[in-house]
């Protein structure tokens, strides 16, 4: 049994699989507890788990954090929505039309290495301090990667699948709508799941400069007033939100693409 667990690519019982995941969380909290309750680290730098819990409960009772969550979520969701709105069709065209790939791949490949955070001063100059600027940061942080990943998904469609469609009488339009789109949809949903995760990491960057609300702003305020417990609560909330969205995407994937599973 033990050797089976460490054999590459071997399936293991589901209970052990889930147990291993829970064990990681337990170990994480365990080490944290050891460091804080054991007095190994100054509580000013690392507050104990119960302090974090109480802070979180108080913040939720207080209610202010809810509006921070709301505003942050809407920034991430909208910024990402626009990135996907442009990036998905563009990526699909780049993956299927060589002319589009030739035109856009080099410039996107160039811009995507420019740090989104360094553009914040420029965005502020160009579009001011409002919501549009926050969304622009998130858009900039995700759009280019997303587009290239969608391009790869579309490019990887089996060429025979497209050729057989021509022999069945498909027009170019029909090839796009009835073959390329459904064939790349699972890969696109997976790409959106991964890049949405990245969008959250750009949120804090966007809210550190020139923001007066949101989870990133809350974290920055806590930092100024030396309240590490608030920083950690903010970080954990962002982590949880990201994970919930990730699970929702996975559920969407499972229900939408049941044709990928043998049991149907």
């Amino acid at each position: 049994m033990f050797s089976r667990l460490f054999t590459p690519n071997k399936e293991i019982p589901r209970s052990i699989y889930i147990g291993a995941g829970i064990a990681s969380f337990v170990a994480f909290v365990g080490i944290w507890s050891l460091l804080s309750y054991g007095g190994l680290v100054n509580p000013l730098f690392l507050p104990a788990p119960d302090v974090i819990w109480k802070t979180a409960v108080n913040q939720f009772i207080d209610g202010e954090i809810l509006s921070d969550i709301g505003i942050s979520f809407s920034r991430v969701a909208l910024g990402f929505f626009f990135a996907a709105l442009v990036g998905v069709p563009l990526g699909m065209l780049m993956g299927s039309l060589r002319i589009m790939e030739g035109a856009f791949e080099p410039i996107i490949g160039f811009i995507r290495y420019m740090p989104a955070s360094a553009f914040i001063p420029l965005f502020i100059l160009w579009i001011g301090l409002g919501e549009a600027e926050k969304m622009a940061v998130i858009f900039f942080g995700t759009f280019f990667q997303l587009t290239l990943m969608v391009m790869d998904v579309t490019k990887n469609i089996q060429n025979d699948l497209i050729e057989v469609s021509y022999t069945l009488g498909a027009s170019k339009r029909q090839i796009f709508r009835k073959v390329i789109l459904p064939a790349s949809l699972p890969g696109i949903v997976d790409t959106l799941r991964i890049t949405f995760g990245w969008a959250w990491t750009y949120l804090v960057v966007a809210e550190i400069v020139g923001a007066t609300s949101g989870l990133g702003f809350m974290i920055m305020q806590a930092s100024r007033f030396l309240k590490p417990e608030k920083i950690i609560v903010g970080i954990i909330i962002i982590g949880l939100l990201g994970m919930i969205i990730d699970l929702l995407f996975k559920a969407l994937y499972r229900t939408s693409f049941s044709w990928m599973r043998k049991e149907g």
């Binding site: 089996q158 050729e163 022999t167 027009s171 029909q174 009835k178 064939a183 044709w259 043998k262 149907g264």
Partner: protein
């Protein structure tokens, strides 16, 4: 005199490569009669797939032309159905939707589409699999559905590019029998590519043997076996004689390129 359905008229194909031009297919001419089952037999890399792809319109000939019912082939179209060696079913569509895909493209109403799908499902012996998805099918089933999908479009000719090449030997022989049954019922003109001598004889009315690169027609042999053909015919003297002759021809060609 039979009427020629498909005419391959001095078709040649040259591919540009880094080290100059590579002749994949020398100028080749032959014709296929209406309702005829023609197999093209050749060693790997002899350009036999190139012929088929040119007939399908997926590739342009460097010289010559292809005529189907007297009209020159320029691009792919539903009058030439094709079955590939790789599995090309649409994984997101059920078996019945796969079979009726070509009809859907044409805008045939759903009710009529599903009736046609049902008819061809019965023909290929997959009744009851309407709602299954490709991932749930074996390789042999997938290729049968691919054949049904091509036939449901009612093409003038069926082009088959080593369709059973990826299947195991047992499945392969059964697929050949199923294909013959389907052909006897539909009487479609079929152009079938293979490198398997048994398959070429068992299926074809006529066999074109190709040379190794550059591909050229080496010999045309009429198969002297009666129809309908049963599995047991593979043990007959005529079959074995023809098999020996063809094995010799193919061996010569394979030795040239090995």
């Amino acid at each position: 005199m039979d009427t020629a359905k498909l005419i391959i008229d001095q078709v040649g194909k040259v591919f540009p490569t880094k080290s100059g031009e590579m002749v994949a297919l020398d100028q080749t001419s032959f014709s296929v009669n209406d309702g005829e089952f023609v197999t093209i037999l050749g060693p790997s890399g002899c350009g036999k797939s190139t012929i088929l792809r040119i007939v399908a319109g997926l590739e342009q000939p460097s010289s010559g032309r292809v005529l189907l019912d007297g009209k020159e082939v320029k691009e792919p179209g539903p009058d030439r159905g094709m079955v590939f060696q790789s599995y090309t079913l649409y994984p997101w569509l059920s078996v019945e939707d796969n079979i009726s895909f070509g009809l859907e493209l044409k805008g045939v109403p759903k009710k009529q589409r599903l009736e046609t799908a049902k008819h061809y499902l019965n023909l290929i012996g997959l009744k009851g699999f309407e709602k299954h998805y490709p991932v749930q099918l074996s390789g042999g089933m997938k290729q049968r559905v691919a054949i049904a999908r091509a036939l449901a479009n009612d093409p003038k000719i069926l082009l088959m590019d080593e369709p059973f090449g990826a299947l195991d030997a047992q499945t392969r022989t059964i697929m050949q029998e199923i294909l013959l049954k389907v052909w006897e019922e539909s009487r479609k003109t079929i152009l079938f590519i293979t490198h398997d001598v048994d398959e070429a004889i068992f299926l074809g009315d006529s066999i074109y043997v190709m040379t190794a690169r550059p591909g050229r027609l080496k010999k045309n042999i009429k198969v002297p076996l009666d129809r309908p053909r049963e599995f047991s015919i593979k043990q007959s003297l005529e079959f074995l004689d023809l098999k020996n002759e063809l094995l010799g021809l193919i061996r010569e060609e394979t030795l040239k390129v090995i």
